[in-house]
């Protein structure tokens, strides 16, 4: 009895493998190409390490309470030492702990912004491209307007009016980023809507909604994922930038852009405040850009060189 179950299972797995043979081989090949790019692998390691640090900051940070915001005024502005590897800040907090807790914010925001952009831009682009006509015109003209702004300036104006907070920063980033994805998905949808399987579904009387959901959007997903990997770095930069000019996180939040901004006053006497937070932003953005670049080269054949 048990033997048969196992046999069935293996055969199912074998079945699955047989059906997806070409896909598996392609994925294996892509993985191989990716692993050959040493810089991209290094980037991936940095990203994974940052996620681990962000999730376990409370256990990994040498002074978790200070990382969250507790001050220690007796130890203000101490240079890097054995106790405080990255020194202490203007309130005597361990900079290393603050940097480690700070890893949480870009991670959470990039997930939120990505999800928001996916929810707004992808369906709108899919609908515009699939139906064409006036719906397409309307959506595309709206994206024209958004793309005519430098996105960050618009995001700044939005946050200024909505009130400075990380939540509003995330909201403003979604509002300024979705048009790019709407356009990307629209382009895909236009080419997909003429495919035989879509036409077949139409003749069989499948509803437009189901066709978009089952046939258009899943096939447009690959390029969207690649674009997102490329864009996450930019999102992290923008969050730090908005916090730097006072529109994002509020003290005592351990946000990197805010830490760079707070360290500015002490830049000539206590360089370590801004420097380590800045290196953290730079390192994480660089890691995402390296991985995104490699992924784009692999998955977007038009750009393959």
């Amino acid at each position: 009895m048990m033997d048969t179950t196992v046999a069935v299972r293996t055969s199912r797995f074998a079945d699955w493998r047989a059906r997806h043979q070409s896909g598996i081989e392609e994925a294996r090949h892509n993985l191989h190409v990716f692993l050959r790019d040493k810089l991209a692998v290094a980037g991936l390691i940095v990203i994974v390490a940052t996620v681990v640090v962000a999730v376990f900051a409370a256990y990994l940070a040498p002074y978790p309470e200070q990382g969250r915001g507790d001050s220690d005024m007796a130890n203000r502005l101490q240079p890097p030492s054995a106790e405080n590897i990255m020194g202490t800040d203007q309130q005597g907090r361990d900079v290393l702990s603050r940097v480690m807790f700070g890893a949480r914010i870009p991670l959470v925001i990039s997930v939120v912004v990505t999800a928001g952009v996916l929810l707004v831009g992808v369906p709108l682009g899919g609908i515009a491209g699939y139906f064409g006509g006036w719906i397409d015109e309307a959506v595309m003209r709206i994206t024209d307007i958004f793309l005519a702004f430098p996105a960050l300036v618009f995001a700044m104006a939005l946050v200024a009016f909505l009130g400075a907070s990380l939540r509003n920063v995330a909201l403003a980033l979604v509002i300024t980023w979705w048009p790019w994805y709407a356009r990307l998905v629209r382009g895909m949808a236009i080419s997909l809507r003429e495919r035989p399987y879509v036409l077949a579904a139409k003749t069989m009387g499948v509803s437009h909604f189901t066709i978009i959901r089952r046939h258009i959007l899943p096939n447009a997903f690959g390029p969207v994922i690649v674009q997102m990997t490329v864009d996450v770095g930019a999102v992290i930069l923008e969050v730090a930038a908005l916090s730097f000019i006072g529109l994002g996180a509020k003290p005592p939040t351990p946000e990197w852009g805010l830490m760079i901004s707070e360290g500015r006053q002490y830049i000539l006497s206590a360089w370590w405040l801004s420097t380590f937070a800045g290196i953290a932003v730079f390192g994480l953005v660089l890691a995402y850009n390296l991985v995104g670049d490699a992924l784009r080269d692999i998955l977007d054949p038009r750009l393959k060189r």
Partner: protein, 341 residues
């Protein structure tokens, strides 16, 4: 389609986009806030009379469409409202701060274009070699480095450690006092050069270096990546192979034939660069105490000076759209095929 028809179509599109931008700012400043009069009057308590006057001035009692019409009309007439902080007309403030920003933006773009195009072309020429890989890493690093952080690092290195360059303002106080610069364009470097004020020119140039570097890093990285990929297309084309087969020196193929044909995408990037540089000034200028639009914008944002924030947003959109239009027209002139698409 003739070039003239193309210009007309693009201008119509420009008007549409500007109206759209104004619709968005209108919604953000007048429709979303629960009490736009409070934004219009600024912080503090207001008498009912003040509130009524503000409602009147904003036209809040009228239908939304009429309100939007009034909003656009005021902007076209140059009445951009008064800054809550300086109590001067916003448009006048902006015009006063614009030249300093333009000076910074133009010098950063010039640096980015020169380094970006030459490095990108060289990387494409040496594709797959060490120079190409180094260039790729440098370009990615350039676009990953937060400009405001780079600005601080430059300040530490060139001011604190090396003591080489000044880090604040456009001119040293002593130079500004003893060799005052005549205001012609508002750009100190240009004005001192025109008037032959060499002491001030040298001083202004030294003040310009660090902010320019901080602003140019991102732009140079982007230009380089675009140039490299456009050049690869050109170098792999038939005419480049043909020239190579005929023994035309590499220098001529890269410098004269390929580069010219790779110019269209590169020009497009220059339009984008302008946007990056413009946005970059918002972060760089306040660090270097540069009296430009970016400083004005960040101070306005921190003081919740809403008319000023709206004004800056619209001027930035206007500048960006105009620059892109000019770039597109140049491209159409160079390569008439783009008018067809």
């Amino acid at each position: 389609m003739t070039f003239r028809a193309y210009i007309i179509r693009r201008l119509a599109l420009l008007v549409f986009v500007i109206l759209g931008v104004m619709a968005v700012t209108f919604v953000v400043s007048r429709v979303i806030p629960t009490d736009p009069t409070a934004l219009y009057l600024g912080g503090g308590r207001h008498t009912p009379e003040q509130k009524a006057a503000a409602r009147e001035a904003l036209g809040l009692d009228k239908p939304l469409v009429v309100q939007f019409g009034l909003y656009v009309k005021d902007f076209v007439r140059g009445d951009w409202g008064n800054s809550l902080r300086t109590h001067r007309p916003v448009l006048g403030d902006i015009m006063g701060f614009l030249p300093a920003s333009l000076e910074l933006i133009l010098s950063a773009m010039a640096l980015a274009v020169v380094t970006g195009i030459s490095m990108g072309a060289f990387a494409a020429y040496r594709k797959g070699r060490l120079a190409d890989h180094t260039g790729r890493v440098a370009a990615i690093a350039g676009v990953s480095l937060p400009s405001f952080f780079l600005a601080l690092v430059l300040q530490i290195v060139f001011f604190r450690v090396l003591g080489l360059l000044p880090v604040a303002g456009q001119l040293s106080i002593s130079v500004a006092r003893e060799y005052p610069v005549t205001d012609i364009t508002g750009m100190v470097v240009v004005d001192s050069l025109i008037t032959g004020n060499w002491v001030a020119f040298w001083d202004a140039l030294r003040h310009l270096i660090l902010p320019t570097l901080a602003l140019a890093a991102y732009c140079a990285g982007t230009t380089m990546r675009m140039t490299r990929s456009a050049m690869l297309d050109a170098l792999e084309s038939d005419y480049a192979r043909m020239a190579y087969a005929m023994g035309v020196p590499d220098r001529v193929i890269v410098g004269r034939y390929a580069l010219k044909n790779a110019m269209a995408p590169v020009l497009t990037v220059i339009g984008l660069l302008f946007a990056y540089a413009l946005v970059g000034t918002f972060f760089i200028e306040q660090i270097f105490a540069w009296p430009g639009l970016g400083t004005y914008a960040t101070i306005s944002i921190l003081n919740l000076d809403y008319p000023a924030i709206m004004g800056v947003t619209i001027i930035v959109a206007l500048a960006y759209v105009t620059v892109n239009l000019i770039v597109d027209l140049i491209i159409a002139k160079l390569d008439p095929r783009v008018m067809l698409s």
